[in-house]
Symmetry: C2
Subunit: 323 residues, 2 copies
C-alpha cells in the first residue's frame, strides 16, 4: 500500500505547498549553506507529520496561511532528528539515498541538524501562537529524551516492555500527537476535538513506530531503502525482540547479539531467523493494530467527515505498509 | 579583570536564579537524562548572555518572572552550541573541564546539545511572547549558519576580512544582540531604547569574539582553561591571522599551517610567534576596542543609569579580560 492511495487529493495538493515552503526557507539565506539540508529534503519521506497537521486542520476552519508554516516546521523538526539520528547510528543510507553524515561527514551533519531545527523554530515563532510553539518545542525535547534514553539502554537485553513503550512514546508518538493537535488548534477546533486529535496522533505514532520495528525484522532491504536488522546491530530493544526473548525464555544467543556492540552479519541474520521462528512478530502486529484501532476510534465522532476518512485510512495504512 | 568586578551585585544576585532555573529545567524530567547536560552547566562560564539580558531588563520595568526564563533560555542556547562545537572541534576540555564529547562520546554529545536547545525553546514558548521567541530562534539559526560557514571555509587561507566579520556576526554578535533586545522588550522599554540595546549587544558581541580570537594567539593555556592556537589547528581564519598575512605579504609558512588539516605543535607554535612578531595583534585589539566603544556609545543616553553603568563596565571588560 502506498501513501498516495490513502490521502485525499486536496491534502496531497496542499502538501506541495509544504515542500515549497521548506525549500524557500532553507535556501532563503545563502543557497550554499542550505545545500546539505536540502539534500535531506530531496531524500524524500512520507511527509506523514505535515499531512496529519493539514488533515487535522480541516476539523475547524482550514486556514492554510497558518497551517503551511506549522506543517513545514513539524517536518523540519523530523528531518533534523533524522540527520542527527543518522550520525548516532552511523547510517550510510536512508530511503536508499546517502545520508548527510556519509556524504559530508559527522561535523557537517551535526550543524545541518541544528540548522533544520532552528529553521523550524523560526517558522513557528513567526506564526505567533505560543501554544503551538510550546507543543512543537516539547515534541523536539521529547525526541532528544527518547534518543538519550535509547543510547543509555543500548546493548542491554534486560529491558521491559515499559522501557520500550516509554522510548517510542518520546521518539515518535509525541511529535505525531503534536502535529495533529497543532492542526486542530490552528483551525480553531473545540477543546474536545483538539483532545481527540491529540489522542489520535499519539496512538497512531505508537502504532507507526511498533510497525517500523517489525519492518526492521521482517522487512526487505529493497523495499525499505535501508538494511534490516539495524536495531539488533545497534543493541536497541524493540517489541519483537522483547517478545522473542520472552517466548524463548531469554535465548542466550539472542541476548548476546543485543549485548554485542559489533555482532557479525551472520549473528544478526541468525537472530532474525530466531525471532521469526517465534510468535513474536504476530504478537507485535497485534499490538500495533491495537494502537491503530485506538487512533481510529478517537476520531470516530469528529465533525469533519473528510478528516475522519483520511485519518482512518492513515490508521489502516501505518500497520499495513512496506516502508 | 574578573567578571565579578564588573556587574552590580543586584544582577549578580539575580544570576543565581538563572542558575537555579537551568538546573530545575534540566533535571525536571529524569535526572539520569539531564546528567550530561548538567555537566555542561557545572563546567561554568561567564554567563554573559543572561547577565546582559537581565541588565537590559532594567531599562523598562524589571520583571523577573519573565526575565529569568528568557535569560535561562539564552544561556541554554549558548551551552547547546558549545556542546555541538566541541564535537566539531574534537575539543577535549573547555574552561579546564572535560567536554561532553570527551567524557561520553560524540553520540551522547549530539543529543545533549539537542536536549539543551529543546529546553531553551520550551522555556521561551512558555513566556508566550512571539517576538522574544523569534529573536532567540533567529539567533540559534544564525549560530548554525556561522558554524556551517566556518566549516565550509576551514583550511582556506584566502579569506577576506568581510568573510571573518560575517562569520563572527552570526556566531556571536546576533545572540548577544538578541539577549539585550529580549531583556529590553520584556521590560516594556521604548522602541528607541530596544534598538539601542540591540545595537549595544551586536557591537559588544563583535568586540567579544575578536578579543577571543586574540586570546587564542596571545593567551595562556592556564588562564584560558583550554590550549591556545586552536584556530590555527582548525584552519579557522581570524582577524589576527588575516592581518598577519597582510603584513607579511602572505607568508607561505603561515598559509601552509592554515591549509594543513593536521599541523604539528611546532608548526602552530612557529605560526603564533610569526603573528606575534607583526603588528597584527595590536591592529586587532584596536578593532576590538572600536566595537566595544560603539557598544558603550549606543547606551550613553538610555534611561536607566544602573543599566548604563553595568553595560559600560562590560564593554570595557570584554576587551581587557584574560579569558
Amino acid at each position: 500500500m502506498d501513501r498516495a492511495q490513502v490521502i485525499s487529493s486536496k491534502i496531497k495538493n496542499d502538501l506541495t505547498l509544504i515542500e515549497e515552503t521548506i525549500v524557500k526557507t532553507l535556501v532563503g539565506g545563502e543557497k550554499r549553506l542550505g545545500e546539505t539540508a536540502l539534500a535531506t529534503l530531496k531524500a524524500g519521506g512520507k511527509r506523514l507529520r505535515p499531512a496529519l497537521l493539514l488533515i487535522a486542520g480541516q476539523v475547524g476552519s482550514y486556514d492554510l496561511e497558518k497551517l503551511v508554516p506549522a506543517a513545514a516546521a513539524v517536518e523540519l523538526i523530523h528531518m533534523a532528528s533524522l540527520v542527527h539520528d543518522d550520525i548516532l547510528d552511523g547510517a550510510e543510507t536512508r530511503r536508499g539515498i546517502p545520508t548527510v553524515n556519509s556524504l559530508w561527514g559527522d561535523q557537517i551533519a551535526v550543524t545541518t541538524g541544528d540548522f533544520l531545527f532552528a529553521h523550524a523554530f523560526v517558522l513557528l515563532a513567526k506564526i505567533g501562537e505560543p501554544r503551538v510553539t510550546d507543543l512543537a518545542c516539547s515534541a523536539a525535547l521529547a525526541l532528544s529524551l527518547g534518543e538519550l534514553h535509547q543510547m543509555q539502554t543500548a546493548f542491554k537485553s534486560d529491558q521491559s516492555l515499559n522501557d520500550y513503550l516509554s522510548k517510542i512514546f518520546n521518539k515518535t508518538a509525541i511529535l505525531f500527537s503534536a502535529s495533529c493537535e497543532i492542526g486542530a488548534l490552528l483551525s480553531g477546533a473545540s477543546v474536545d476535538e483538539i483532545r481527540r486529535l491529540a489522542e489520535y496522533g499519539e496512538n497512531l505514532g505508537m502504532a507507526f513506530q511498533i510497525y517500523d520495528d517489525i519492518l526492521d525484522i521482517e522487512g526487505r532491504t529493497d523495499e525499505l531503502g535501508k538494511p534490516i536488522g539495524i536495531d539488533l546491530k545497534d543493541g536497541t530493544m524493540t517489541m519483537p525482540i522483547i517478545y522473542a526473548l520472552e517466548e524463548t525464555g531469554g535465548d542466550t544467543r539472542l541476548c548476546s547479539v543485543i549485548e554485542n556492540t559489533a555482532p557479525s552479519e551472520r549473528e544478526v541474520d541468525d537472530a532474525i531467523q530466531l525471532i521469526l521462528s517465534t510468535n513474536a512478530i504476530e504478537r507485535t502486529k497485534r499490538e500495533a493494530r491495537k494502537y491503530a484501532q485506538l487512533a481510529i476510534d478517537a476520531v470516530k465522532h469528529i465533525s469533519s467527515k473528510e478528516a475522519q476518512t483520511d485519518l482512518t485510512a492513515i490508521g489502516k495504512f501505518v500497520v499495513a505498509r512496506y516502508n
